[in-house]
């Protein structure tokens, strides 16, 4: 009986400490960590993995992000089973209105789609917009085609069959590529169009970035499109592509980042393909985190909401953006970081802002 009361006393003491603790220490130290869960796009997964690991080591905050694809990320947020979702394609007005409450988009980094090729002895290749249209619509079938030769003065292109390699699975990479192609070519827009998977007029399909890259590597004369983060990591030769200013641009973290320097809407819902910035690589795109504007839903605590916003504001700032570059994603330009910050400020709990 005595022992019982003692335990009760200790428990009461602990509980009272627990109540008083965060109030006293708020602002100076972390409150008790809450678990955050998220799910979504696989494209930024390597970046999110390293960022989350780093953030957890630094703050003790545990976050799990499941790579389930953009569609899965949107669905999970819609079903309110995650704190935030990830997507490579922004939700258009119609999709936004289908969500149970207002959501916001936070861009986290920029990726690109590069044109990879396998031509023995050639490590520099320029492809004009017209070239890309003719290649991917199946009208150019050999590498020494006069149109390709004209774009590459001084280069001896081999008399070799050209094999187009594309994705066989549905993918945001294909969406960005087809969005770019639709912008530069009316024939493509009416004949093929935009989408995560397409009706390909020509070529061989392979699964995932590794599948396309592997097939290109193993096939002389192959050309295809791959996510930049994968191509950079694997050091695969990539072509220079003509941008809106008519300049041939080699994809690099700088030229991809430049794509977001052009004017973009305040809510950041924009495709970065064919950016008007003269130094921009034209086949680029944001990847976003999406979350509810009003964070008090589904019995979420204020602590959860605070941690979510705190993590996201860290993710778009320079420490995390430096990590992004280490894993071959282009960082957000400062202007975009400011825009994203402004959006995060609009995220509220019971109508109160969570970020100052």
């Amino acid at each position: 009986m005595k022992a019982y009361t003692l335990i009760l006393a200790i428990a009461l003491f602990l509980v009272s400490c627990g109540n008083g603790g965060p109030d006293k220490k708020s602002g100076t130290k972390e409150s008790a960590p809450v678990d955050l869960t998220a799910a979504g796009a696989t494209f930024p997964l390597p970046f999110y993995n390293v960022a989350i690991k780093n953030y957890t080591e630094k703050s003790g905050q545990s976050i799990s992000y499941g790579g389930v694809g953009s569609g899965g990320g949107i669905r999970s947020l819609k079903d309110r089973v995650v704190d935030f979702g990830g997507t490579d394609a922004f939700l258009n007005d119609e999709q936004k209105s289908e969500m149970p409450a207002d959501i916001v988009h936070i861009p986290t980094c920029i990726g690109a789609v590069v044109i990879a090729y396998n031509l023995p002895g050639i490590d520099q290749l320029k492809l004009s917009n017209a070239n890309l249209q003719e290649i991917f619509m199946g009208n150019i079938t050999r590498w020494n085609d006069p149109q390709l030769v004209a774009s590459n003065p001084g280069l001896t292109l081999p008399d070799m069959p050209l094999t187009v390699v594309h994705r066989s699975d549905g993918s945001g990479t294909t969406y960005i590529f087809s969005d770019f192609m639709s912008k530069i070519s009316a024939a493509w827009e009416s004949g093929v169009g935009r989408g995560k998977s397409l009706m390909w007029p020509v070529g061989i399909g392979a699964k995932g970035n590794p599948g396309v890259a592997g097939t290109i590597k193993a096939t002389e004369g192959a050309v295809g499109y791959i996510g930049s983060e994968f191509a950079f990591a694997q050091k695969i030769p990539v072509a220079q592509v003509e941008n809106s200013a008519g300049k041939y641009i080699l994809p690099s973290l700088e030229s991809i980042s430049a794509a977001a320097k052009a004017e973009i809407p305040a809510d950041t819902r924009a495709n970065l393909t064919c950016s008007s910035d003269p130094e921009a690589y034209p086949i680029s795109g944001f990847t976003w985190i999406i979350l509810y504007k009003e964070q008090n839903y589904n019995k979420r605590t204020r602590a959860q909401a605070e941690e979510t916003v705190k993590f996201l504001s860290w993710l778009i700032e320079k420490d995390a953006q430096a990590l992004a570059q280490q894993v071959n994603y282009a960082p957000l330009p400062l202007k975009t970081v400011e825009q994203a910050k402004e959006i995060l400020r609009s995220v509220v709990y019971d109508g109160q802002s969570l970020l100052n």
């Binding site: 694809g69 953009s70 569609g71 069959p161 094999t163 066989s168 699975d169 549905g170 993918s171 093929v192 169009g193 935009r194 989408g195 995560k196 998977s197 397409l198 009706m199 390909w200 070529g203 061989i204 399909g205 392979a206 699964k207 599948g211 592997g214 097939t215 193993a218 096939t219 004369g221 192959a222």
Partner: protein, 285 residues
């Protein structure tokens, strides 16, 4: 004793019932998932070979995949037949019971245990360059490449059953034939094959069924072009392969189209097994 018998009977009944329920449930959920696409396209879904997932221009037809599936499996069974049949004769008749037959039998069975991704890799790195070198096709991907790998994959299924069937042909029959002055060839052609043919045929039907549903190795080699192959060596796609490829990001009508392809594969496998049974019946009568 009677009680325990009843228990056993009950358990057996329940487990067989469960299998029937699972099959029926699968069939039902496949049918249920297929409704939207059949409502939209009707019979055109089966006979059209257009596969356009682009939003606003959606058009789904399964013909290209049906052709791809049947074509790869036919190539496989044609290439598999001489190899599997002769090795089952080797193991079950010519060298029956000898050490070399046992080693051979084990090796063939081992082929069945190799994961299909390994066959895919072998096809990608060894067979595909060979096909390019032979000049059959510019990049080596296609229906034929997939068919060759499928042939090797189904050899063990056809061989091991055929071997058992060949072994089961009564020795007396063979001895009687020999005593009448028949040569070994005569025995095989006139005694062994007529006696074992329905079993051997069954083994190839099973192997064919296995080829119809194979996914991973095919995906890696067929080229995944959603069109009716323009030649024996051209790229195409199969039903199982398109489902595996496109399921991840599919929703709405496209998801329904993929489920319908699953249903069609189910039906086609059923039809082929049915035809097989009919032919066996004819053999036996």
């Amino acid at each position: 004793m009677i009680k325990s018998e009843r228990v056993v009977k009950g358990i057996l009944f329940l487990s067989s019932l469960l299998i029937i329920l699972i099959t029926a449930g699968m069939m039902l959920s496949l049918m249920n998932g297929s409704i939207p696409v059949f409502k939209e396209f009707g019979l055109r879904f089966i006979i059209s070979s257009q596969w356009n997932p682009t939003e606003g221009r959606e058009e789904y037809g399964a013909m290209a995949f049906i052709v791809g599936t049947l074509l790869t499996s036919l190539i496989a069974i044609v290439l598999c037949f001489p190899l599997a049949f002769s090795s089952s004769l080797f193991i079950g008749e010519y060298f029956q019971g000898t050490r070399i037959a046992k080693i051979m039998g084990t090796l063939v069975d081992m082929l069945a245990g190799i994961p299909s991704i390994v066959y895919g890799l072998w096809g990608f790195y060894v067979l595909r360059p060979l096909i390019v070198d032979l000049g059959l096709n510019g990049q080596g991907f296609g229906v034929f490449t997939a068919g060759v790998v499928l042939a090797i994959m189904i050899i063990p299924y056809a061989t091991s059953i055929s071997t058992e069937i060949i072994k089961m042909v009564p020795g007396e029959l063979k001895e009687a034939a020999y005593s009448l002055g028949a040569t070994r060839r005569d025995v095989i052609l006139r005694v062994l094959i007529p006696n074992a043919r329905s079993g051997i045929f069954t083994s190839f039907v099973l192997a064919f069924g296995r080829a119809l549903g194979e996914t991973m190795a095919v995906t890696m080699l067929i080229g995944n072009a959603n069109i009716i192959p323009d030649s024996l060596f051209g790229p195409g796609n199969t039903m199982a392969s398109v489902i595996a490829n496109q399921f991840g990001e599919a929703e709405g009508l496209k998801l329904s189209a993929l489920i319908s392809i699953g249903l069609l594969l189910f039906v086609i496998t059923g039809i082929i097994n049915g035809i097989g049974k009919l032919i066996i019946k004819r053999f036996n009568s």
